[in-house]
């Protein structure tokens, strides 16, 4: 039975590795300027974790095969070098391995979170609420009008609680249910929630960020490929969480300008 167990461990380990090696289920192609750093970090981690996983399972299986149910006269032995060698190996090999991952990973993280957006990044607001996203573009004046939470009213489609009658900056603001951005243009996404926690996740953009009720959070990214992608909520926000999504259209500059004009006309 022990030998069968050893073989089972090895078979499970190999079968587990096959979809990884064949890239059966992977993240979709990256369409962001920063995403390749995350993907490289992911690949390096996969290599190190994969080798650790296979090595640990194989050694475990080998020892189970070799040392179970021995002859009665078999002598007990200790692994040469004892615990000291193993501890040193763990400290050196695993220590260096994980520290390297940590240090190299800082670059990918810093690119998204520790560098400020460039001065000419396009600001777009996104508001999350049960169970929809709404986007706001500042219009020709380049300024967002103030939000009055007490004026938020979905019935009258005042999703942001704007008061254009009194706030000049609000008058040209464009509020949409779909997000469109120009390709190769840095976006400065200003995020807030109107009710509970939500999240903004676009797999292709390699972007995921929670909305924190009561806090303004921001992100910046540049999309490099024209197309239509899904924005989904990843923070449990209530019964409609699974259905909270919007579409992101990455357009050429010309198409984006046309889209924005059309949306403005519909306000």
């Amino acid at each position: 039975m022990a030998k069968f167990f050893a073989v089972t461990i090895i078979v499970i380990a190999i079968l587990s590795a096959i979809p990884i090696l064949r890239h059966t289920w992977v993240a979709p192609e990256d369409i962001s300027k920063h995403g390749h750093l995350i993907d490289e970090q992911m690949s390096e981690t996969m290599a190190e974790a994969g080798i650790s996983f296979l090595a640990a399972q194989f050694v475990l299986a080998f020892f189970i095969w070799k040392f179970s149910n021995p002859r009665p006269d078999a002598k007990l032995k200790n692994f040469p070098g004892g615990a000291k060698g193993l501890v040193i190996a763990a400290l050196l090999v695993v220590g260096i391995e994980v520290m390297a991952l940590g240090i190299f990973g800082v670059k990918a993280w810093a690119n998204v979170y520790l560098t400020p957006p460039s001065a000419d990044a396009m600001p777009i607001q996104v508001q999350a609420g049960q169970f929809a996203f709404y986007f706001r573009y500042p219009g020709p004046d380049g300024k967002f009008g103030p939000i009055h939470p007490e004026l938020i009213n979905e019935g009258s489609q005042n999703f942001y609680g704007l008061d254009p009658e009194h706030d000049v900056e609000s008058r040209d603001d464009i509020v949409t249910a779909e997000m469109a951005i120009p390709v190769n243009k840095e976006i400065h996404l200003l995020m807030h929630s109107k009710d509970v926690g939500h999240s903004f996740f676009v797999r292709e953009l390699r972007v995921q960020q929670d909305f924190v009720p009561g806090l303004d959070v921001s992100l910046h990214f540049t999309a490099t490929k024209i197309g239509k992608y899904e924005i989904v909520c990843t923070q449990l926000c209530g019964l409609g969480h699974y259905n909270m999504k919007a579409y992101l259209s990455v357009l050429s500059q010309q198409d984006f300008d046309d889209w924005l004009k059309k949306e403005q006309a519909m306000q």
Partner: protein, 594 residues
Amino acid sequence: MHDMSAHAVQHHVPPTSFIRKHVFSLDHKVIGKQYYALALVAAICGMALSWFMRIHLAWTNAAIPGLQLLSKNGAPGGVMTPEYYLQLMTMHGTIMVFFVLTTAPFAAFGNFFLPIQVGAEDMPFPHFNMMSFWVTFAGFVVLMASFFTADGPTLGGWTQYAPLNAVGSVGGPGQGTGVVLWMAAIALFCVGQLLGSLNFIPTTLDLRTKGMSLMRLPLSAWAWFITSCMGLTAFAVLMPACILAILDHVAGTSFFVASNLVMNDQLLPHSGGSTLLWQHLFWFFGHPEVYIAIVPGIGIVSHILITNMRKPMLSQRVLIYSMGALAVLSYMVYGHHMFVSGMNPFSSLAFSFPTLVITIPSTIVVLIWTFSLYGSKLRINSASLFALGFISMFVSGGVSGFFLAQPSIDILLHATYFVVGHFHLVMGVAAMFGIFAGTYFWAPKMFGRMMNETLGKIHFWLSFVGAYCIFMPFHYLGMAGNVRRYSAFVDDFLQPLIPVHRFITIAALITGAAQLIFLYNLIHSRFWGKPAPDNPWEATSLEWSTPTPPPFDNFGGKLPVVYHDPYQYGVQSSAGDYVMQASPEQVKTEHEEK
């Protein structure tokens, strides 16, 4: 350390009435069995919920026979509504994490065996111990009561993030009374575990019998001691957090609700609270909780493996220090649950490095286990199979931690099924394997009957292969971006992943059914199993020195004296290849730690 060998210090006299003997018992062994029974009932409930969830995820519109009996509104005609899925998911996670993974390996086995393993006749505060169980039981009853409220249990997930946990019923079904009951249940649970920890620590430090130095404690006793230290600090943070959340509901406070939030076009009557405060308080408990669930398993598995290898681990000390390092580091890493939460991005880096460092003691533990097998005389039985399976699962679940420890990769994997696969393998399945190993190993001592080995092995094979079939594909789903906590997969990119979910569901149903074999084996052997000898595994620690089942005061009026390290195997003694801790027989040991 007290010298109590000459006389047994009776903290309380043997009970005579049925109630004092079996219900409100002060005996740590009865309390341990009560905790085990509670964990068993909770595990059955939690597993049944997971079946319902899995069927719904694979076949969203399928009618599940009988589900409408649980909730007419939540499952009209047996078809689960989206909100009811979330409610069952929340209850599954809560029941499993708190009432199974914490109670069984720590409170159940720890209560029964820690006093015996240290050579004491009971815990120092038996009344606290009795309260510990009954308060925990009350917590379970309060939690389950939420099924019977008008709009059912809370749907906010076992993490109960703010402000959804504090806005009241406007947040959705179960977010009013359901949340209050959840918070009350968990606060009660925390009180129960605090009382338990307050007993475990002095039991280990002050009630050791003569000759039982700290380094002579078995690894299981060390694990329970370390876990109780974590419990004392972690539950002490979660309990007040739950009380604050209840106050947000019933007293009009705003600890966790920020200003100017709008729901249903109405401004909420809250101001000035902090959403992230809940996350900090919860995860300050939550990450140590992972180790509260798994460290007892590490100790139990070490204890069982040594007995079945017939030789000690390469280093007892290194294992103890590693468990201690895991416990200390567990408080410094909790922010890795919050990389994309909106906290300061520099904090993410600060939490990332200790998370990566925690890999080192984990690796050391695995290396010590694995390389201790070298040159052993490994006995294969149900207990050792589950202990070896624990190692395999601990490794598989552990390596995915490499990914989630890094904030940059977390951008891609956060809140996906990758996380679900990771924690189910490393703290769910591995901890369950520790519980099963402990049950097959200790049931003879607890119940006086041997469990059926053939059924135990069938249970193992189905569980081992089944658990991999369920939880390994979760990682692949996560890598493809499958978001967790969705009651249905409506997004375009999720459609190709539905067949994987169906495979997982079938595996879950089969693996779940295999647990019925365990249940049958446990109940059948409890009443009709072969009577167990005092030391069926030829083991060395003190629980095997005492009669089966142990007498009321554990050692029949005279506490034992300890003469040896806990694991004296591979020696020539009158008993065979081992010498028991309480045996005065002097033997030459070949495996003393250098």
